[in-house]
């Protein structure tokens, strides 16, 4: 090989570089839409929208009940998974509080125990008082709250992304 003229060697080096570069370019051309498609949920944020959960008269003052509503941008094939639940409490004539149903520890569904006036988590034993403050277990933060409003006699909850932290 050493006997070959310099020009042949440099030509070979150029051909190798050119082939590697071209292949890289082709790979990049394919990878760009693929990676962009896979990562698209990262920057495509769904709008937070208000969802109707029923007339004010459906909720008794002081009681905490589960309400279900649709996610902010449900896909047509999402079926039941497009739904979200929250714990809604009517404080007085016009004020409502809505707690996220997700434990702040790792997102498991907390359950409201009306007689004990506690939220309890079935996964790792997180316990919250009626105001959603942590009273036992591993949760690091109080239960997240949804924005709630009353419009024309109906209660509306504003969707919120997961994780709730």
């Amino acid at each position: 090989m050493s006997a070959e003229p310099r020009t042949t060697q440099s030509r070979r080096r150029w051909l190798a570089m050119m082939s590697a570069g071209l292949s890289g370019l082709a790979a990049l051309a394919v990878a760009t839409p693929v990676v962009g498609f896979i990562l698209s949920p990262l920057w495509k944020r769904a709008p937070r929208i208000w969802r109707d959960v029923g007339p004010v008269s459906d909720f008794a003052i002081g009681s905490t009940v589960e309400v279900a509503f649709a996610d902010s941008s449900p896909l047509p094939w999402a079926g039941v998974t497009a739904r979200t639940a929250a714990w809604l409490r009517r404080m007085d004539a016009t004020n409502f509080v809505a707690f996220a149903a997700n434990c702040t520890h790792l997102g498991c569904p907390v359950r409201w125990l009306p007689d004990a006036k506690l939220f309890m988590c079935p996964c790792h034993g997180g316990v919250y008082d009626s105001a959603g403050r942590v009273t036992a277990g591993p949760p690091p933060r109080p239960l997240a709250r949804y924005d709630v409003r009353v419009r024309e006699g109906r209660v509306e909850i504003r969707t919120m992304p997961l994780p709730t932290a």
């Binding site: 039941v80 979200t84 639940a85 036992a136 997961l162």
Partner: protein, 474 residues
């Protein structure tokens, strides 16, 4: 030679010729034949079968997985119904799901045993460091397949497991929320979530597994099966290869069939055990539908990750985020570093007591955590029944107290005579331990890991509750 009709001789001769021609054009014998008959060291016994058995379990997963994918609908809204169809209506569907489940279980178990065997015999030492590294990747991929596979069952448990997974990812500093969004494929569990897990479980990870199995097996052939270790015979990199080749030339056996028969016997045994379990025990029952608004749920991972479920419950909250993020990373790093820490020297477990200690510690830790995860004492018992009157006693105040004990949620966490949760102390004999004043203080103010009940109990209710608890004596 016994008489054979002429046509039979011709057929035999023609077949031989055909085979020789095909073999010549395809080049089978020189490659496959040599591969099958490559010499292996003597003494490789039954402990050497776990790797091939893992591969057999994986092949079962591929075959049953393809069959299941022909009926499974990877859509968040319909997957559950398609699984119900597979489990109830499709011929062989239930047993197919069972084989896929127990095949996964076998794969996790066997890959674990294989790792332990290789580690104890230090087969990862020179020149087989890359065998270990590719194997470590395969171990991680197997667990990832287990987790993603459990999610494809797409029942209530699966939906909450996705959320728990996303919440764990969100603990990663700086870009944790992006990771969580990536896992959920959006703001919440929905239409986009399942199809991504399907693609990962069915296309992406298996492709990577195929790649790494290819590399792993290639390396096994390239470096030869590690000889059974002997104390006092350390690995010396400069001379090892020559010593190994000389040893093989002297006393090696052809892999097929001298060593392979054990792989076949054990592998076939694994196949039949998997099928028998699928028939007798059956596939895991589908849980409730994947409706995130059904909040009566008890999310639990499948058995192979139950120990990690216990970790998440038992680590102190102050260091929790660190553990969630760093522990898997450190564990993976430790596994990858094994051959770099020592790739020479003694291989025999008798001369490597630390290796034995590491394995015993790891197995015990996982075992204890696994048992804890199965019991899940930290979870409140939402289904604890009312205490029977026979237990409560005759006094009206005590009976009122027993009712309050159930209604106000005490029983979710405290058990009495075996009824109730295990999150808090057992109160069967609380009357022997605590005075009235101590009980009142504890109930009103709560305590470590107990909510205060002052706002939720009238004075007469506190009295009744204390009367009931004071009556709990040996």
């Amino acid at each position: 030679m016994p008489y054979r009709p002429r046509w039979a001789v011709r057929v035999a001769r023609g077949t031989r010729r055909l085979f020789r021609a095909a073999d010549d054009r395809l080049g089978l014998s020189p490659v496959v034949g040599r591969l099958l008959k490559h010499p292996v060291p003597p003494g490789a016994g039954w402990l050497y079968v776990f790797g091939s058995a893992t591969l057999i379990a994986f092949m079962i997963q591929v075959v049953t997985g393809i069959a299941l994918a022909m009926a499974y609908v990877p859509s968040s809204g319909q997957a559950y119904d398609s699984l119900r169809f597979i489990s109830r209506d499709a011929p062989f569907g239930h047993v197919l799901r069972g084989i896929h489940f127990f095949g996964a279980s076998a794969m996790v178990l066997l890959v674990g045993l294989h790792t332990i065997r290789v580690y104890l015999m230090a087969a990862y030492k020179y020149p087989r460091e890359m065998n270990w590294l590719t194997g470590a990747v395969l171990l991680a991929l197997t667990l990832l397949m287990g987790f993603t596979g459990q999610l494809l069952r797409w029942d209530q448990n699966a939906v909450w497991s996705v959320i728990v997974g996303a919440e764990q990812a969100s603990r990663v500093p700086a870009f944790g929320h992006l990771l969580a969004r990536f896992i959920l494929a959006g703001d919440a569990v929905g239409g986009a979530t399942l199809s991504r897990f399907f693609a990962v479980h069915v296309f992406f990870i298996p492709a990577v597994i195929f790649l790494f199995i290819g590399a792993h097996v290639y390396l096994v052939v390239r470096h030869g099966i590690s000889e059974p270790p002997k104390s006092g015979r350390p690995v010396d990199p400069p001379t090892y290869r020559r010593w190994y080749d000389d040893m093989l030339a002297r006393e090696g056996h052809p892999f097929w069939p001298d060593a392979a028969w054990r792989d076949v016997v054990f592998g076939v045994g694994v196949v039949f055990v998997i099928i028998a379990l699928a028939q007798i025990v059956g596939a895991p029952e589908l849980g409730k539908p994947p409706d995130p608004t059904n909040l009566v749920a008890y999310p639990r991972p499948d058995w192979y990750l139950l120990w990690y479920f216990a970790v998440l419950a038992l680590i102190p909250p102050s260091i929790e985020s660190w553990v969630i993020v760093l522990a898997p990373l450190l564990f993976g790093l430790a596994l990858l570093l094994v051959p770099f820490v020592s790739n020479r020297g003694e291989r025999s477990p008798k001369r490597r007591p630390w290796a034995i200690a590491v394995v015993i510690t790891a197995v015990m830790m996982i075992g204890v955590l696994w048992a804890a995860g199965a019991r899940a004492a930290w979870s409140p018992d939402f289904n604890a029944p009312r205490l029977p009157d026979t237990l409560a006693g005759a006094s009206p105040a005590v009976r009122t107290g027993a009712t309050l004990f159930h209604d106000r949620g005490c029983e979710n966490c405290h058990s009495i005579s075996g009824i109730g949760g295990h999150r808090g102390p057992d109160l069967t004999t609380a009357g022997d331990r605590l005075t009235t004043a101590e009980m009142v203080i504890r109930i009103m103010n709560g305590g470590r890991n107990m909510p205060p009940f002052a706002a939720n109990l009238r004075p007469d209710e506190v009295d009744a509750l204390v009367a009931f608890l004071r009556s709990r004596r040996r």
